[in-house]
């Protein structure tokens, strides 16, 4: 089956989930939520959702939603905490939660990230939302940090000296994180699956997506990538993965809001809103 880029990214993220994971569903990241839900209904039925929208653990999977996610996160949870417990206990802990995907506005060759500002901090061209909890947890995960970027370009992939603000810590100067975690593990983008060289801790192409050349990936990256002798093609989504994603997990394609821009995005947002405020659709389907 044909697939779109949001579908590819979502499927690749889903494949990272294991059956014993506790999957951290953040706010406003429908690709991640879709990926976790897809994993849950395909190969990881015992995985647990940890919803930040709710501060809850939830065992069952429900359809992805823009407007009604509080219902999904809260009404059927089997544990509820507060953000103090979430932030200071569950998230940095290695067993209580296990997998989280971060999306940086900028990332350098060592996996250091910036979500704080474009331009200088005290006189920013664009004030971005901020670090959130990324530095609080990313250095802790023993299985490493999971990252994704929906538009692979030189504005996002920058050399260290062009990272405007280091709001998330990767391999600073090639070192392991102080907090004891395994450091950045991989980045899933619209062009490739990238990981980090074990020795130099620099970013490396692991697989290139179907139809994408190594040259294109390098060209759209603001620093030199490590290119192994063999760079296989990314295994594309299977028909089953696509079918589940489209029909069950995220039929309104809310995930697409993470990849679209401009007018197209605005129209899709309108489409999602209109569909979700329809009376008869407010109970989130259990899948």
């Amino acid at each position: 089956m044909d697939y779109s880029i949001d579908e590819l990214i979502t499927v690749l993220m889903a494949r990272e989930v294991t059956n014993t994971d506790v999957m951290i569903v953040g706010v406003a990241t429908p690709c991640v939520w879709s990926a976790f839900t897809l994993a849950k209904v395909t190969h990881a039925p015992n995985a647990i959702f940890h919803y930040i929208m709710g501060n809850t653990f939830v065992y069952e999977a429900r359809r992805v939603s823009l407007l009604w996610l509080e219902n999904t996160a809260i009404s059927r949870c089997h544990r509820i905490h507060n953000s103090g417990e979430c932030t200071l206990e569950l998230l940095p802990h290695d067993t209580l939660t296990t997998i989280e995907f971060f999306r940086p506005a900028q990332i350098d060759q060592y996996g250091n990230t910036n979500n704080t500002c474009i331009g200088s901090w005290d006189n920013p061209k664009v004030r971005l939302p901020g670090a959130a909890g990324i530095p609080d947890f990313s250095g802790f995960y023993s299985r490493g940090q999971s990252l994704y970027v929906t538009r692979h370009d030189r504005r996002t992939f920058v050399p260290s000296e062009k990272l405007f603000f280091r709001s998330g810590v990767g391999y600073v100067n090639g070192q392991m994180p102080v907090a004891g975690g395994a450091g950045p593990k991989f980045i899933i983008t619209d062009l490739a699956y990238l990981d980090f060289d074990e020795k130099t801790k620099k970013m490396r192409i692991k697989t290139r997506h179907p139809g994408v050349s190594i040259e294109e990936i390098q060209e759209k990256t603001g620093f030199e990538l490590i290119v192994p002798n063999k760079v296989p093609e990314t295994k594309p989504p299977t028909d089953h993965e696509l079918k589940m994603l489209r029909e069950k997990v995220d039929p309104l394609a809310i995930r697409r809001l993470e990849v679209l821009t401009g007018k197209e995005r605005d129209e899709h947002l309108q489409y999602v809103i209109e569909n979700e405020i329809k009376m008869e659709k407010r109970v989130m389907e259990r899948i």
Binding site: K125, R127, A131, P135, D136, V169, V172, P177, M279
Partner: protein
């Protein structure tokens, strides 16, 4: 003899929010934000407020647009999938609004430090970030037991906390049906606390509600009933955020927004402007 803290929004804000205060705001981006109280703060023309909130959104943006605030402590300020917070951006980029860079843990620990009267709490997470370069009140130090690298973050003590909750009793017990976020900590450490609520219930009912009274009565100064008082943000389990209103908010001129939606004091008048019962039907769960 019985304790009764119920008052009007006007009274509560004029009595408990002072110019220059550090105001703790509950909720998250556009989920269960005390927006009716924020509108009242704007109408009363409060100045030089500081904000501390776990994740800011419409609350911070409205206050930035109205020039009520000069500093913000939040781990994140944004309008989620609706985009960057426009007035917040403008205020920060023009230098009018100071951002005190925080993360989730630096805020959570800053509040926790207050209880045990600690001058700091230790943290590993933010070591090696640039946050340390722009926060001269955060210091790296060597821990006294194992010589590990650590960072010391200072306590955060709000002058007043403002929390919107679905249920409260007249004594000031507040029940949050959904996510609590840091609202219990904000209430517990703030010097004064205002809660706005959808419904006033009896203490007997608080006992039976899941989660009971997460906001403890002994900390609460004012209880204000404002149905749909979080609109256009959500209040689980009653309604979700109003996506049409928020989409509109992202585009509209601030003065027009002020005149149409902030000026009306009466919640009914406000809700009529928002679209009346048909808008409410869109968002109730």
């Amino acid at each position: 003899m019985a304790i009764n803290k119920i008052m009007s929004l006007k009274e509560a804000v004029s009595q408990y929010v002072e110019d220059g205060d550090l105001v703790g705001i509950g909720g998250l981006s556009f989920w269960r934000k005390p927006i009716s109280a924020i509108r009242e703060i704007i109408r009363q023309g409060k100045k030089n407020l500081g904000i501390v909130t776990f994740v800011g959104g419409l609350d911070v943006d409205l206050l930035a647009g109205a020039n009520c605030i000069n500093r913000v402590r939040a781990s994140f300020v944004g309008m989620e999938l609706f985009g960057l917070a426009p007035r917040y951006r403008e205020a920060v980029e023009s230098g009018k609004l100071k951002v005190i860079e925080e993360t989730e843990a630096s805020i959570a620990l800053g509040l926790k430090a207050v209880y045990l009267r600690l001058p700091f709490m230790p943290l590993k997470g933010i070591i090696d970030t640039d946050i340390l370069k722009v926060r001269d009140d955060i210091k790296e130090f060597v821990d006294p037991l194992k010589n590990e690298r650590l960072v010391a973050v200072p306590p955060i003590k709000p002058d007043v906390a403002i929390i919107h909750v679905p249920y409260a009793d007249e004594k000031g017990n507040g029940n949050i049906a959904g996510a609590v976020w840091i609202d219990d900590d904000l209430s517990k450490v703030a010097k004064k606390v205002i809660i706005t609520c959808e419904k006033i219930v009896e203490t007997e009912d608080i006992i039976r509600l899941p989660g009971k009274g997460q906001i403890p009565m002994q900390k609460v100064d004012a209880v204000v009933r404002v149905p749909f008082g979080a609109h256009p943000t959500s209040c689980y389990p009653f309604y979700t955020f109003d996506p049409i209103h928020i989409k509109n908010y992202m585009k509209i001129n601030y003065d027009e927004y002020f005149n149409t939606f902030i000026k009306p004091e009466n919640i009914g008048d406000y809700l009529e402007k928002v679209g009346g019962i048909k808008s409410i039907l869109n968002i109730i769960t």
